[in-house]
Point group: C2
Chain length 365, copies 2
Amino acid sequence: MTSARTRGPVRIVGAGLLGASIGLALQEKGVEVQLADASRAAVRLAADYGAGRPAADGDAPALVVVAVPPEAVAEIVARELEAFPDALVTDVASVKSGILAELTAAGADLARYVGSHPMAGRERGGAVSARADLFLGRPWVLAPHDGVAEAHLHAIEDLALDVGARPLRMDAARHDHGVALVSHVPQLVASLLAARLVDAPDAEVGLAGQGLRDTTRIAGSNPELWVQILGANAAAVAEILTAYRADLDRVIHALHDPERVGAPRTVAEALVAGNEGVARIPGKHGQDRRFATLLVTVPDEPGELGRLLTEIGEEGVNMEDLRLEHSPGAQVGFAEIAVLPEAAHRLAAALESRGWSLSEPGRNA
Amino acid sequence: MTSARTRGPVRIVGAGLLGASIGLALQEKGVEVQLADASRAAVRLAADYGAGRPAADGDAPALVVVAVPPEAVAEIVARELEAFPDALVTDVASVKSGILAELTAAGADLARYVGSHPMAGRERGGAVSARADLFLGRPWVLAPHDGVAEAHLHAIEDLALDVGARPLRMDAARHDHGVALVSHVPQLVASLLAARLVDAPDAEVGLAGQGLRDTTRIAGSNPELWVQILGANAAAVAEILTAYRADLDRVIHALHDPERVGAPRTVAEALVAGNEGVARIPGKHGQDRRFATLLVTVPDEPGELGRLLTEIGEEGVNMEDLRLEHSPGAQVGFAEIAVLPEAAHRLAAALESRGWSLSEPGRNA
């Protein structure tokens, strides 16, 4: 157990998915966690799970994390700032500008408040879905307002690091526009797509496969929660949805007249732009555009793959990524090897001269 | 190796993802497969992979499977019907009405043609992505036109069964509307969403997580192929997209005036409809609505889960599904047990009287 950066105790208000996950992760680090929630049952469940101990009178937290539903955040943050005058208070709500405005209007002690947002979640909420590793590698956005002490920001960054997240700082307006783009608009787009299935014949819905399942997965999310999130970020969401609708109109217009030369181009442009947009999303997503890919046929015999990798090493080429394709019952597999573009041509020639058979990588269909 | 229903030899025209996967699956069954493709390299790759042998002069296939790009299908089907006057010919294109119309106009021998569509694919195409198990459990739609002999339909159904698919029959128009709903419209919706990312600041795109990745995954698909598919099914796709746009307009209107009482309701309705739509998609997708779920806390000790399942059996309750939740480092896990609603209450009481602690299942957030 590596020692914690956070100087506890930490009070977590809201024992749902995020609150309980933060508690589990901090407890693993040996930080004392005090759990509070309007629901005693929720506190008991989270405590049983190992997310902390129920809060008690006389608790003196150094840090309070408010993880309640969006509409309640500002009120609870103000309450906690008053209840614990020596504590630093943060919240984990997914929209930041409105909360700061509410706290300012309420005359809260903003010097001890830092708004933040861990970019993590699951399809299902509640402490039962909590995981100590929920935040691993995920961004944890700090949206500092003017005049917050650097020491306070460091304390929240330590909290983020303790749960395995990547802390970063972002202006609240920029953050809110960003989550509208990568989270709130996708939620509505997926919900509206899934809504098309409600009145569809069983025979048609029965044709659905993984593509539709992935595209609509987040449409299973909690409407009560999402009405609050979307209401809090309505302007940014509406702006992006309006641009989305303009593209949609062009596609529908083109489909109504498929003979027009312009039509296929219009639709094709949307599909090509989709390729480009997907390529910008961080994390593995098809091939990494920075590398060239060699496709080598590997006989399905012991040691053949090892021999290939050894010989690539002998050629002094650094392999950036390796992906294997092998079908049940096939006599051979394929090793997809990602290398720097400048090395690809030489390596291909060297491998062929060593007797390996290379092929063209397939295009996603 | 179970014996094949298909009376080969089978000629496959088009050694891409679908053609090579059919070949791999048929070869596993011991069916002779002859591979043809405009690209010699594609045939060689598929043959190396074990999908069959290159086609040769004098081949006399009993069945021809045309698996070429959509725009070429009708022409190739007509050519194959002429080249092999004793063979039954099918195609695997994802839109059926237009091909039948083209073949009719060309005066092809429709008595030996059956249009079909295996509902399977992968993000990436080409023989390199082929898998013998690509069709396992997937629907393989037959779209028979009037006057096709029942024996011919059985032959295609045998082909589908030999590759592990579920053959079913559907009117071509119904099929084309169905794939527009579950495949073609989702493709455009995902592409248009991903297109919003093209000009977005890195800092905003950097906030993306699994939700956006899933929602846009199919936006990585091949534009050249999809322009052909969407062009061939333009009317059905445009009809569904137009209804989708009407819902989208209502949401955008509501977001522009979030104070209106109607506004949250409008947005909430879209989110609730999304829940209902997702629940209709076959395959595991959150909880199965037919069952009630009990959430039992299980101490993280050897034998505890086994004891729970034994005691459920002792209560004479049949467990429809079991899902486990356990966080790294947690002292307990949770067993989510799906049972018939009528049994849920009695089982909950029995388990609590046996000393188990039950909780409320979390709602997807």
